[in-house]
Symmetry: C2
Subunit: 302 residues, 2 copies
């Protein structure tokens, strides 16, 4: 196991946590990111760093791609200095970004032709669980790919949902999860804003709803951001602009109507249009504030 080596491309909150969990498990770990401070953070924990995907991937047993979207995943693998041609035969690639299921299927086919293994492996759990090595992974791929990825999966995940033998099934489940997560965030803000507009105290709404049938994981997690007037991005508005877009494209591609997802997507788009794309996704509440004229926690102090 000591000879198992991992490459992580993309050292944001999730990727850095994955790289650190890999190091903590005793795996040789190399990271790659455009931002100097991310490379320094990894070096401080004993990781190596490289500047190009190709250099990073050279000689590794498992490559985790922890970037934002399909375009970046494509570029990391097949762009200039891409990783795909630098990987040794039989190495396994974990695609961790939230991407369209069809894209995951395509990547799997292209890597297979190069003699590489592919695990469609989107992740869930947030930065805290990434740092703790306790992510959930919604994974699909061949048994060979699962076997090759096992040391890395053991290092980074509390739960690996094995969803099938074909790339795309992991991304499909992640898409269903993001559909619900995005709708629940926007619905939480819509309902909270209505409560405030109707005269309720926002803290009381949180207390009561989190103990009632209206509760959701996202309501409980995101409403405190509003109560604390803290919109520093743990996950940004732009992420759900993208992810609900993936959901709606999938629905469009199979003539499947998704009216509630579409309504929620419009609210994230409105937030992005207001210039809030880089704020925490809880900032979708500001759309309701702007259109409905409510006072939010923190407004008095501004």
């Amino acid at each position: 196991m000591q000879s198992f080596s991992v490459a992580v491309i993309g050292l944001g909150a999730m990727g850095l946590g994955i790289a650190r969990s890999s190091l903590r498990a005793g795996l040789g770990t190399t990271g790659c990111d455009l931002r100097e401070e991310a490379l320094e953070a990894l070096a401080a924990d004993g990781g190596r760093s490289c500047r190009s995907p190709a250099e990073t991937a050279t000689g590794c047993d498992a490559l985790a791609i922890v970037v934002v979207n399909a375009a970046q995943t494509e570029s990391v693998l097949f762009g200039p200095d891409g990783a795909a041609s630098a990987l040794r035969k039989g190495a396994v690639v974990l695609g961790c970004a939230t991407v369209p299921p069809a894209f995951a299927r395509d990547i799997g086919q292209r890597l297979t032709k190069l003699g590489l293994l592919y695990l469609d492996a989107p992740i869930s759990g947030g930065a805290v669980k990434a740092a703790a090595g306790e992510l959930s992974v919604m994974a699909s791929g061949s048994s060979e790919a699962f076997t090759a990825a096992r040391p890395l999966l053991d290092a980074i995940a509390a739960t690996v949902h094995e969803l099938g033998t074909e790339p795309g099934q992991g991304s499909t489940m992640k898409m269903v999860n993001q559909c619900l997560a995005g709708v629940h965030i926007a619905a939480a803000m819509e309902a909270l804003a209505l409560g405030i507009r109707s005269g309720l105290n926002a803290n009381r709404v949180f207390d009561v709803i989190t103990h009632s049938a209206g509760n959701s994981w996202m309501f409980e997690n995101r409403v405190p951001h509003v109560l604390n007037a803290d919109y520093a991005p743990r996950s940004a508005i732009d992420i759900f602009v993208k992810d609900l877009g993936i959901v709606l494209d999938a629905g469009h591609g199979s003539d499947f109507p998704l009216p509630i997802t579409a309504a929620a997507h419009q609210q994230f788009l409105a937030a992005a249009g207001m210039g809030l794309g880089r704020e925490d996704d809880a900032a979708v509440v500001k759309v309701y504030q702007t259109l409905g004229g409510i006072t939010l926690p923190g407004d008095d102090g501004e």
Copy 2:
């Protein structure tokens, strides 16, 4: 305490549970319902039964109105043989139906003029918790009303959220809860249906999502109805046609846009339009089945 007497009008799943919890707490309990079998069920547990609201209310200390909507609440109190004129001065009325906050305020004012106390007291928790005396009550009203209702509240509730001194505040919080509950049911069915359409196994979707950030109380509670192909109504489609209508009317009344709630309401309306109004609210999944062409659990056996 032995001399405290309770009247319960409306002996559906919730009202019968309330009446039985009242009996179990040693309170003299009289019930009223149009259905003979409901009266017999109460009598079997030692409760008295009456045929008219006026007769039921005569001499009681606390009257719980556990009917479906505002129109029934109005009729019980102020219709022919209504309860309001039969109650002794100082008795307390608990309005437990989900009603518009403005209606709750109006009822409170009318009862006050008659020398009666009013607690705006919508309930949450479902039939099982009603039977166990463990409801959540979202209550507002004068301290005198809370004090007068205390023996009954102690008998029926695990939690009493005291939300203010004015009728309407309880119903406003219930409205916020129903907004989320309704959106979450429809979103659960939209996401589950998308997963099935995209090739996922419905049981796997349930397993993964209930352990992920996309989870909600309603997803966890209602999706099993679909997995078991069991649409016997615990709570019917028609309830959310009504309750999300109340939410949207409140938004309309204060120029407050609620696009996600509106989208969810349309899906419940579509289900009602398909003739499913009396089925369990999880049957909103059949709208997606009809429009999107998916196979649901139980379809093979039909």
